[in-house]
């Protein structure tokens, strides 16, 4: 740990104040020197690479200390934001955050996630994210009648872990690379290979890489693209694991993320992959998300 701390110090901590000054909105008054009589000037909004605004989705970053984020969206695919998103995240400080998708609680998928952004330098960041899921099939009321009958007899536990490296080599580019493993297991009396839990990939044992890139078109807008490359995917059955071929598990997504107003962000993405077809009946599908940070 001391070695890591030394390396972080040697590489140099992220200079947020310099970024903020360099990307302040044109026309914003320059920050005046605070005096005892004058109130502190309102801080100018910085850019999407700053810790307060950086996307925590598929990146090494976590929320700054005491910052809370509310996310709302729909039509997502894969794991945490599948079908509906009503998420809440909180930055605990020291690079730690916790998060949960409350929308999934409503359909019997209880979940809690945690993240730790443990290497934070000017050009390179590393973070780890952990999750714990318990899906109670009987409460998954959004399944079709046929699937509902099947899923009501099974429960699922999933424990995904993801290590992500993020790098910002220039002011307009961020590169991300995730390595993830998700462990899952089914309990119950029905065959699990055809369940919605397997379809939405929460019940999948999977090892995958996810390279991605973000192009910062302006201080408030970025184009983001990433692809999920599974090296191994399998559905855990009672006596064996049913392998899922690469062509049925890989996916690609691309979209825009913008800061609409101070603390308010929006994004629209297009997803392509077999999972979109399984969940929504089309290989290409959109998703949207609005995030409020305070």
């Amino acid at each position: 740990m001391t070695g890591i701390a030394f390396a972080v110090t040697a590489l140099g901590a992220r200079d947020v104040s310099a970024q903020t000054a360099a990307t302040s909105a044109p026309g914003t008054p320059a920050p005046a020197t605070p005096t005892a009589a004058a109130p502190a000037p309102e801080k100018a909004p910085s850019d999407l690479q700053s810790p307060e605004q950086a996307s925590t989705r598929n990146s090494a970053y976590t929320l700054p200390a005491h910052m809370v984020s509310f996310e709302s969206g729909a039509l997502g695919i894969g794991g945490g934001d599948v079908v509906a998103l009503m998420g809440i995240s909180y930055g605990l400080g020291a690079g730690f955050q916790i998060n949960a998708n409350l929308a999934h609680f409503a359909v019997g998928m209880f979940n809690l996630g945690a993240g730790w952004h443990f290497i934070d330098t000017r050009y390179f960041d590393l973070g780890v994210k952990l999750g714990a899921w318990y899906g109670h099939g009987k409460w998954y009321w959004i399944a079709t009648p046929a699937a509902e009958k099947l899923i009501s007899k099974i429960d699922v536990i999933a424990l995904p872990i993801e290590l992500t490296a993020s790098s910002t080599p220039t002011r307009w580019l961020e590169l991300d690379l995730s390595t993830a493993y998700a462990w899952a297991s089914f309990f119950g009396s029905a065959p699990s290979e055809r369940s919605p839990f397997a379809d939405n990939e929460i019940g999948l044992r999977q090892f995958f890489l996810r390279p991605g890139a973000r192009f910062f078109l302006a201080d408030h807008t970025a184009f983001e693209i990433s692809t999920k490359l599974p090296l191994y995917s399998g559905i855990p059955l009672e006596d064996r694991t049913l392998s899922v071929p690469f062509k049925r598990a890989w996916a690609i997504e691309g979209g825009f993320r913008s800061r609409f107003a101070r603390g308010l962000f929006g994004s629209i993405r297009l997803h392509y992959g077999s999972i979109s077809n399984v969940l929504y009946g089309a290989r290409i599908y959109p998703s949207f998300e609005i995030e409020l940070r305070r």
Binding site: L173, D219, H220, F288
Partner: protein, 213 residues
């Protein structure tokens, strides 16, 4: 469809590279120019484009989008929030398909469909240099008219359905507009995620022309 998506990504990536390579001073000037442009006000847009279904209805392939025309009237608040109403008509086209029944001879028929869409939208306008990036989420109703010919038995998916078939849709979309005084023009897309299984979801790309009175 794959070509369209690839084209969109390539366009977005090239836009990103172009803007990002610009000198910081040029970026500031451009952003300043956009910031001087007032977002607030009413605007009326006409659209013309092409749409494609991204899903099938069981084994049945339908093309209820195709050439599409529409209108959109909205009001943008100074903060960027835009509320609007829209109405579109997609001409669709026929697709020849074959049926291989368990009993009887194989036969072919043409499945023709067209769609009307209307509803409300909430969006946000984000100035991007001299352009305007518009995020939208449409909520509305789609009405799909279908025709399988007079001498054909209806496909099983449509045996009990009325004509036209009606369903709700959610449509995330984006547009890039170039506002110039009272005029604006650009390109955009909407992805209609249909709630009624008999109406295939689809993607409509459009050219937009409008005025800001």
């Amino acid at each position: 469809m794959r070509h369209l998506v690839a084209l969109a990504f390539a366009l977005a990536a090239s836009l990103g590279a172009t803007f990002a390579h610009a000198e910081p001073s040029a970026e500031r000037k451009a952003t300043a120019s956009a910031a001087q442009y007032s977002l607030q006000g009413l605007d009326v847009l006409a659209s013309a484009g092409w749409g494609a279904a991204t899903a099938t209805v069981g084994d049945l392939k339908l093309a209820p989008y195709g050439a599409s025309f529409g209108g959109d009237v909205g009001y943008t608040f100074s903060m960027g929030l835009r509320l609007s109403g829209h109405f579109d008509y997609s001409l669709g086209h026929g697709i020849v398909q074959s049926i291989d029944p368990r009993i009887g001879r194989d036969h072919e028929f043409t499945a023709d469909a067209s769609t009307l869409h209307g509803g409300f939208a909430m969006g946000w306008d984000v100035p991007l240099y001299m352009l305007l990036l518009r995020y939208t989420i449409r909520l509305g109703v789609s009405s799909m008219s279908w025709d399988f010919g007079t001498n054909t038995r209806r496909p099983v998916e449509f045996e009990t359905l009325q004509n036209p078939v009606i369903g709700l849709h959610v449509a995330p979309g984006m547009a890039v507009l170039w506002p110039y005084r009272w005029f604006e023009a650009g390109i955009g897309f909407d992805y209609l995620a249909q709630s009624n299984y008999a109406i295939p979801s689809g993607f409509i790309g459009s050219v937009l022309i409008g005025v800001r009175p």
